[in-house]
């Protein structure tokens, strides 16, 4: 089945709206998932973290069509799961690769035969099942263990066989719960590299529950759950990029990565069209800006000419910052900033800006010195 482009899923791999789940009849402790909204794009690797009992596994089993949806909307690979009959749920599951913490391999089957089971489900893959199984095992570094039975493999190797079984049919969506917990650094890396490659080459989406810090870098997003809710949803690559920009500025040079990440997280994204004004000369200064993309011009009015005779002081592009002076001096804006190319700005509020600077008094003082030198 191809994912139908319906209003329920568009081209998203997963689209959850208001998903709420309660175990058992008596909801003593209330729902374990509350009003979850989550979109997963094709090809994305999303890491799901959060304290024990926060509902990560429950969310995974709902998305994997292993549990019945109780409340809310959930579309997986284009299929709205609510009200699907068992047969259809099975069809959805066939397009998902599951990686469980307990590998559950059949002791009686060789590694290759275990992996084959994942391919044999798909009629069109049956003729090539052996080749696919061998290739997938090679990709997880087990090319020399094709005919070994689970009893002859180490825990990590078994887990990699299970990973190969999940990936052998090139699923559109991979759901994994702590897949690298039993693996050493190198094996864990093999597995996540494979997931990354699948994402790039086949648009496979991965939702990964993990506490393994060694693999956080593969995440496009990190979603953290607390108490059945999504507490934060961070685009990791984007955050890294923003921190890099911030670190390059004189203002934040020398700040710790943690501090930078916190600032990045506090920044608000604004999208502006060409010709729009960010702020006018004389406005009260309330925000600090980073140009994420596009371009703006900094202008000043000529003294005495109220008709708008303007002088362009600077043209700012990706990675440039502006708006700090008014915040530091607590005076009105000394220039106007106008968009010249459609641009994306990240804005940090006055309070957050000050807090960030005050984190290191000396740093703040140093900056004021720098600024005084500038003027």
């Amino acid at each position: 089945m191809r994912p139908a482009s319906t209003e329920s899923g568009e081209s998203l791999a997963v689209r959850a709206r208001g998903v709420t789940h309660t175990y058992g009849e008596a909801a003593d402790d209330g729902p374990v998932l509350r009003d979850i909204d989550l979109d997963l794009e094709p090809g994305e690797i999303v890491i799901l973290t959060g304290p024990s009992g926060s509902g990560k596994t429950t969310l995974l089993t709902l998305i994997g069509a292993l549990r019945r949806l109780q409340q809310g909307e959930l579309a997986v690979l284009g299929h709205a799961l609510a009200g699907l009959d068992d047969e259809r749920l099975v069809a959805v599951r066939r397009r998902i690769g599951f990686i469980f913490q307990s590998h559950n391999l059949f002791a009686s089957l060789t590694a290759r035969q275990n992996v084959r089971l994942g391919a044999e489900l798909h009629r069109e893959l049956l003729p090539d099942a052996d080749r696919l199984a061998s290739e997938t095992l090679a990709a997880v570094g087990l090319g020399d263990k094709l005919d070994s039975k689970p009893g002859e493999l180490s825990g990590g190797q078994r887990q990699r066989v299970a990973v190969a079984r999940a990936l052998v049919a090139s699923p559109r969506l991979v759901l994994a719960d702590e897949p690298t917990a039993a693996l050493d650094r190198d094996s864990g890396r093999l597995v996540v590299d494979l997931l990354q490659r699948l994402g790039r080459e086949h648009g496979t989406t991965t939702l990964l529950v993990t506490h393994d810090h060694r693999i956080l870098d593969v995440a496009d997003r990190i979603v953290s759950m607390v108490d059945g809710r999504i507490a934060s949803d961070v685009r990791v690559a984007e955050s890294v990029r923003i921190c890099e920009f911030l670190a390059r500025t004189e203002l934040f040079r020398g700040q710790t990565p943690g501090a930078l990440a916190e600032i990045a997280e506090q920044m608000q994204r604004l999208e502006l069209a060409a010709g729009e004004t960010v702020f006018e000369q004389g406005d009260a200064g309330d925000r600090f800006y980073l140009v994420r993309s596009g371009a703006v011009e900094v202008l000043t009015r000529h003294d005495g000419r109220q008709d708008g005779g303007e002088k362009v002081l600077a043209r700012l592009g990706e990675g440039d910052v502006f708006g700090e002076t008014a915040l530091l001096t607590r005076e009105p804006r000394n220039a106007t900033v106008r968009v010249v190319e459609p641009c994306e700005l990240l804005a940090l509020g006055q309070e957050d800006f000050r807090t960030a600077l005050d984190r290191s008094k000396t740093l703040g003082e140093e900056l004021r010195d720098i600024l005084s030198l500038r003027s």
């Binding site: 596994t57 995974l60 089993t61 994997g64 292993l66 549990r67 047969e87 099975v90 069809a91 599951r93 066939r94 998902i96 690769g97 599951f98 469980f100 913490q101 307990s102 559950n104 391999l105 059949f106 002791a107 009686s108 089957l109 035969q113 084959r116 089971l117 994942g118 044999e120 489900l121 009629r123 069109e124 049956l126 003729p127 090539d128 099942a129 052996d130 039975k149 079984r165 999940a166 719960d177 702590e178 529950v209």
Partner: protein
């Protein structure tokens, strides 16, 4: 055979989990097969003995030439026939279509083992030397030798405990000294250890109660081409109330019923078969169910990755069938061996037949199917939602 039924148009075969599981846990499989095989062997033996009973019940009738019999209304079975005045046979002879009506005397008497001197019961038959008693005409010539009251014709197929039976053997039937003057080979079945044919006069000395002009069985042969039903009706019409005329089939049915229904023999075998099946099914159920319980995680995983429960059910059925088929082969071979041994030692007509093989195979597969269906319910416990920690 595989997890899913194969559907024609593509290549590549699916992995047979059932088969792999059998091969993988060899010793468990051997133990299971021993259990299943033993059950199948029991089936073969029970059904074999039952069939032997059926055959034995009419084994003697088989060797006799007749289309119908006249017997006393007190007839119970061959060895408890009741008696009637042999004049009744003249009435039967007068019926149209009847070619001959000959009296026969039957009874159980001890025969002396010529080697050990011990006595064992045999079926004694008193027959006139000129009576063409045997269905197999080549045997009838020997009967002429019975004109001497000291002669006996014996069935070589008698049990070994009867001692030497070859021509020339001198022995005794109860207290009558006899010499074996001719023999044939047929078998007596359950009725007795062997068969000894003697002159009617000799018979009456052994069985004084049979004195006078009495007969136990009147063997009637029809003319060629006469209508059996009408002839039988004609005979019956001429006979008084103390005797009845029975067709060959009616007589055989009576004797069979005596062995298999009137006595608990049939019940014993039937319940034996049922018990063997029950125990076998229970053993197999235990094996299959524990196998499922041991692999719940694996089965749940298969469910999770998209195998239908039906496919998993089929694999349990397949495993049950495999146990059955693999247990069947050695059991059938062993049964054939035991049949040969039993028929040698006990003189029972036990032999393997294609029909028996098919019947036991059918029962085996039914038993395996039933156990698998019971065990399959455990699959419901495999919940893919419980797979994530």
């Amino acid at each position: 055979m595989g997890l899913l039924p194969r559907t024609g148009s593509h290549f590549g075969s699916r992995t047979s989990l059932a088969w792999r599981n059998l091969v993988h846990r060899r010793w468990r499989t051997v133990a299971a097969l021993a259990g299943v095989g033993f059950t199948i062997l029991l089936l073969f033996m029970q059904i074999g003995f039952y069939d032997a009973c059926v055959v034995s019940a009419t084994r003697v009738h088989e060797m006799l030439e007749f289309d119908a019999v006249v017997v006393s209304t007190h007839y119970v079975f061959l060895l408890q026939p009741g008696s009637f005045p042999d004049g009744r046979l003249a009435l039967a002879r007068s019926a149209p279509g009847v070619a001959s009506a000959e009296p026969l005397l039957v009874g159980r008497a001890p025969w002396r083992n010529a080697a050990t001197g011990n006595f064992y019961d045999v079926l004694a038959i008193g027959v006139a030397p000129d009576h063409d008693l045997f269905r197999d005409p080549s045997r009838n010539g020997a009967l002429e030798r019975l004109s001497s009251p000291l002669h006996a014709v014996v069935d070589r197929a008698g049990k070994p405990i009867l001692g030497p039976l070859e021509v020339g053997t001198r022995s005794e039937l109860r207290d009558q000294r006899l010499e074996v003057v001719a023999d044939f080979e047929h078998g007596t079945g359950f009725v007795a250890n062997g068969t000894v044919l003697v002159n009617p006069a000799t018979f009456r000395r052994v069985f004084p109660e049979a004195a006078g002009r009495t007969a136990h069985l009147g063997l009637i042969s029809y003319h060629h081409g006469s209508d059996p039903e009408r002839t039988l009706a004609e005979i019956a019409r001429r006979l008084p109330e103390d005797v009845v005329a029975l067709s060959r089939a009616q007589l055989e049915r009576r004797d069979r019923r005596f062995y298999l229904s009137d006595r608990p023999l049939g019940l014993i075998f039937t319940s034996g078969v049922a018990m063997a099946l029950g125990v076998g099914a229970l053993v197999l159920f235990q094996i299959l169910a524990s196998d499922i319980s041991h692999h719940l995680g694996e089965f749940a995983t298969l469910k999770a990755i998209g195998y239908r429960t039906t496919a998993l059910r089929l694999q349990v059925l397949e495993q049950g069938a495999l146990f059955g088929l693999l247990g069947f082969v050695p059991a059938a071979l062993l049964a054939a061996l035991l049949y040969a041994l039993t028929s040698r030692v006990a003189g029972l007509p036990l032999a393997m037949s294609p029909g028996r093989l098919l019947l036991v195979l059918g029962l085996t597969l039914a038993m395996c199917g039933a156990s698998a269906l019971l065990a399959i319910r455990r699959l419901e416990r495999a919940d893919p939602a419980e797979l994530f920690p």
